[in-house]
Symmetry: D3
């Protein structure tokens, strides 16, 4: 507690995820006063064909344009 | 914004998902007045052995009955 | 099943919400083949001081500009 | 309705999951008075490199200590 | 960890909620082997005009039928 | 995109929330490379009688001990 969920499309490296959860945890500790061990962060990764913006799946947005 | 999450068991085709996110986005635009590009829709798919109804996993519900 | 969650900032009328859940349900029935009574839609409303874009709370974005 | 989501790191067996959703459903029926068939339980499993406590990913916490 | 979220419409008493979170926690401890203090349970309550089944808001379903 | 949800019990000030969403957004921009305007952060606040640790509601944990 608190629990933080980050919803993102797939494609980030392990290093990017490691750095993100470290800095988000630090922000919660700094501003909400939680002990670090009480902070949970989960990355909820989505395949590109399961997430849409403007009604169009990310997998369709990225189709090659010829 | 808004963000829409659809929780469903696995088994739909890409075309079904494509049509669903398009129509859900259109509904949000029509009724909530959001610009299309601001609407995010994510499908959160679950394997059948991770979802239950009536206390029974979907994977157990579908076992052959002999 | 499926379950749909719509995250939105406060400010829509009951009629807007009624229309939205009706049309989202119809889209799930049409494209995912679910019986209507199995479709759950929940609107998760957020106060403007609990939601941010670009790192700025919606309540701060809307401060009068003089 | 109600809908219950259990967020957990990967590593439990199918039997453990089957028992958990059965007992959670029984608790909802007993205390909230819902008919069993109306109770949905979903297990949202996370890989160890997508979940952190204290700012450290579970996959890093479990690195061999020599 | 694990984290459990129970989505329900408003209307249960504090005693009902107290009993539910106690029994859900016991189920997670019994079947997933988590230490009790690591189990978080949150009840996400929804007003009846924010949740729908079959495309109809709960607040509309419960209108008097004459 | 990405979307970040912070689940916390009530009791933080507006300034604490403002600082948290600013720093979480900065962390997402720095490590995931998202444009700031694409990052959504929502605080999902819970009353103390709706959240439990170790099977005990926060509202019960904080009862005066005489």
């Amino acid at each position: 507690m608190p629990e933080v969920y980050v919803h993102a499309v797939e494609g980030r490296t392990l290093d990017q995820k490691r750095d993100l959860v470290r800095d988000i945890t630090a922000a919660v500790v700094a501003h909400f006063g939680s002990p670090p061990e009480a902070v949970m962060v989960q990355i909820v990764e989505s395949p590109k064909h399961h997430k849409a913006k403007g009604g169009v799946l990310f997998s369709d947005r990225e189709a090659p344009r010829t």
